[in-house]
Each structure stands twice: as structure tokens, then as C-alpha cells.
Amino acid sequence: MIMTREQFIATSGVRVQTLEFWIEQEWLIPDQTPTGPTFTEVEVARARLIQDLTSNLGVNEEGVDIILHLMDQIHGLRRALLEVHDSM
């Protein structure tokens, strides 16, 4: 499902200013189209993770930055490993 910025805000419950900050930090990278950014379920799930980290787990901004960066590396590694596994 492809969502506009407004639909994404309604679905995820992220506040407008918070969303802008997240995009600025590249925690979320929505697709840029001529009519504005578009979001998918991937961004919703990622937003939920950031919300879990900041509200329930007591992680601050710097912590989120580090966690997301490491997590994206883990997923890159997992994918590479999976593809190596599949190609063998």
C-alpha cells in the first residue's frame, strides 16, 4: 500500500514535526515523487520500532541513530548471508 504523508501520519500516529525530524535524520527515507513523499508499510513498521525505542525503551536520539545504523547493517548481513546460502 502506498500512502501520502497525511495517510502515513494517520496510520502511524507520528506527529508532523517528529516525522520531519526523522526524515531529516534519515531514519525514514520515503520515496520522493512529484506530488510529495510516499510511504509504505515498511515505513509504518520502522516508525513503530522508533516509537518503541524512544517511548518504551528509554532510548534517546543518539541511541536511536546508533541502533538503526547497526540494525540496517545486520539486515544487510542477513540478506547477504541468505543469498550466499541460496546460491550454494
Binding site: 502506498i2 527515507i29 509504505t40 508499510e41 515498511v42 509504518v44 513498521a45 520502522r46 513503530r48 520500532l49 518503541d52 518504551n56 525503551l57 528509554g58 541502533i67 545504523h69 540494525m71 540496517d72 547493517q73 545486520i74 539486515h75 544487510g76 548481513l77 542477513r78 540478506r79 547477504a80 543469498e83 550466499v84 546460491s87 550454494m88
Partner: protein, 353 residues
């Protein structure tokens, strides 16, 4: 926290299949056992269908007398270990995290905790709705715009088999072509012969202009280059594959590139000849019916069929069918009565057994 207890995730029926309603539950604060039936708000129909939920104090590993700060600390400690996105490879993490979060939803909120301690709401009152975690997308490949190869970039310079495998899979991923997308497009019979421009409305609300080439047949697939799903890197988008469904026209049938139409003519048109209008894919044309035509007489309209592959067109064949007036006519009857030659003609001489 009590490690022994934490290993037991009580979401299954105990061995022997004891009905849930007869299992004594731990009392919230005293630790003594009560039967489920004796509890406030017990509904036997619900008790059988709901999962067996553990006491939230036990789940978080805190005493019933714990302070709010202690409860938060216990929750954070567990959640950091169990959050599904922080354990992308551990399938059981999600269930455990759900239980811990459910317990914290109850005990982390002073009001809910009070109501729970007072017996107003039960353990299951805090079940979290199911949702998809980021790892579900990251591992399926949809979140791959976020994934980062720096975790293994240092292997990439090496000249060995493992580095080669990694490099190949990374290149394939970085420049993967978008997927082909399949559609079905109904096309009117006439349009399938002459060709047409149509606009296909896509499920996501977008539109696709499709140029239907003349002479299309049912089931043919049109490929629109680059109109499929977007690709990654230099991969380019996939194609749109459009399967054409030709809606039959009751008047026409098609045989190769030729068209056949059965056309009714009156008795006088057949006997005396005349000019009639005949439908063709490019509009009606006038055709001469020769004097003395019969039912089954087939006339040809040159070049009115579907286009041949190498150029030129098929033909339209017009098969005549004599139709008498709908209301019997006394004059016609009288004429045929006195028409001796008509009586001596035997149209069935070839089919007589």
C-alpha cells in the same frame, strides 16, 4: 528475576489436555490458587478460547509490591532483550515480547494496575493487537532500501570465494530489475480486428495507455516495456504484461485472418438480386447480391478481415441466408400453389438415404 519461571511460557495446554476452566490460576497478590470459575467476570465461553495468560507480575519478574520505577526498569531490561526488531533471527522473540509488553501495559499504568489488583480487569485485558515488525519487511526484501552493506564491506576486497559470492549477490541486488506486473484487458471484437487505443485503470488508481495493435487474438499478451514495478539501482523497471481477452461479437466469427458473417436476405433479394448493406470492422459497406442467390451462397469482401502478419489483410466472407416474411403472405402462397416447377424441384436428392 526468577530464571526458572521465565523459561516457561504458559501459552499451551498442560499435558493431558485438562480443560482450561479447571486449571487453578495463581491469585494475583496472595500467591494462592483460585479456580477460574470463582473469579469475577468469568465467562466460560471465553475461557476456552482465550490463551492462557500468565500473571503480569510473574512475567516481569517483580514482586506485587514493586514500585512503578522498579516495574519500568524490569520491563526495559526484558524489552531490550526481547524486542523482535532487536532479534531479527529469533522467531520466539515476538511471542515473548508480546507477553512482556502486555504485562507492562497493565502494570506500567497506575490506574490499570489498581484495577487489575482489585480484580476489575484480568491478565488478558492488556493483550496487544498483532502488528508487523520492521524485521518482517527487512528480511523479506521490501525494506532493502535501508539495509546497509558496511557490515561486510571489509570482506569485499578479498580475493577469495566468499568475497566473490558476496560481490555477486550484492551486484545482483543493487541492480535488480523491477518485477513484471500482469493485467487482463477485455477488448471488443471489432477493436481486436482494427486496433484501438484504450486506457487501463490500475488497482492502485494509476492509468496505463494501451495501444491495441490490429489483428489481436484472444489470449495474446502485450508487453509494455518499463511499465511494471520499479527496479533497484541500474536495474530499471519491469514490464507490464497485459493479457487480452477478446469479447466475442455474436455476428462475426474469425478463422485465421478471415472473418465470417451470416447475413439474412429476403426472398426477393435472393431471387432478383439487389444491393444490401453489410457490417464490417471498418463500418458498413454496400454489396451486390447476384440474381438467383441461395441460402449458403458465400460472397467475399476483399481486404475486410484482420491484417496479415507480413502485410495485407484477410477477407470478410458473407454467407447468405434466405428469410421468408415473418407473417405468411397470401399472395406468395397463391403464387407457389400455381408454381409447378417449384414442386418438381427436390432439394434433398443428395441427402436421401
Amino acid at each position: 528475576m526468577d530464571q526458572g519461571a521465565a523459561e516457561v511460557w504458559l501459552t499451551r495446554l498442560p499435558a493431558g489436555g485438562v480443560p482450561l476452566a479447571s486449571i487453578p490460576l495463581h491469585d494475583r497478590r496472595s500467591g494462592s490458587c483460585r479456580r477460574l470459575e470463582d473469579r469475577k467476570g468469568f465467562r466460560p465461553d471465553k475461557a476456552y478460547t482465550e490463551q492462557f495468560v500468565r500473571n503480569p507480575y510473574e512475567v516481569l519478574g517483580v514482586e506485587p509490591t514493586a514500585t512503578a520505577a522498579e516495574i519500568q526498569k524490569a520491563y526495559r531490561k526484558l524489552a531490550k532483550k526481547l524486542h523482535p526488531d532487536l532479534n531479527p533471527g529469533d522467531k520466539s522473540a515476538e511471542e515473548k515480547f508480546k507477553e512482556v509488553s502486555g504485562a507492562y501495559d497493565l502494570l506500567g499504568d497506575a490506574d490499570k494496575r489498581k484495577r487489575f489488583d482489585g480484580g476489575e480487569i484480568d491478565e488478558s485485558g492488556a493483550e496487544r493487537p498483532q502488528h508487523q515488525y520492521y524485521r518482517d519487511f527487512a528480511s523479506s526484501g521490501r525494506g532493502h532500501s535501508y539495509s546497509d552493506s558496511s557490515g561486510y564491506a571489509d570482506f569485499m576486497g578479498e580475493d577469495d570465494a566468499f568475497a566473490e559470492l558476496l560481490r555477486r549477490s550484492q551486484e545482483a541486488r543493487a541492480n535488480r530489475r523491477g518485477q513484471d506486473v500482469h493485467y487482463t484487458l477485455p477488448v471488443a471484437f471489432m477493436d481486436s480486428i482494427t486496433g484501438a487505443e484504450t486506457r487501463l485503470t490500475l488497482p492502485d488508481g494509476g492509468v496505463l495507455d494501451v495501444n491495441i495493435p490490429p489483428g489481436l487474438v484472444d489470449g495474446q499478451i502485450l508487453r509494455l516495456k518499463g511499465k511494471g514495478a520499479p527496479g533497484a539501482g541500474k536495474g530499471g523497471p519491469g514490464d507490464a504484461l497485459i493479457e487480452v481477452e477478446v469479447i466475442p461479437d455474436p455476428r462475426f466469427s474469425r478463422k485465421g485472418d478471415d472473418l465470417l458473417i451470416e447475413l439474412p436476405v429476403s426472398l426477393s433479394e435472393a431471387v432478383l438480386g439487389g444491393k444490401i448493406r453489410v457490417p464490417t470492422p471498418t463500418g458498413a459497406v454496400t454489396m451486390s447480391v447476384p440474381k438467383g442467390s441461395n441460402t449458403g451462397t458465400t460472397l467475399r469482401l476483399k481486404g475486410k478481415g484482420a491484417p496479415h502478419k507480413g502485410g495485407g489483410h484477410g477477407d470478410e466472407y458473407v454467407k447468405l441466408k434466405i428469410v421468408l416474411p415473418r407473417i405468411p403472405d397470401p399472395d406468395l402462397e397463391a403464387f407457389v400453389q400455381g408454381w409447378d416447377k417449384g414442386k418438381s424441384f427436390d432439394p434433398r436428392e443428395d441427402v436421401r438415404s
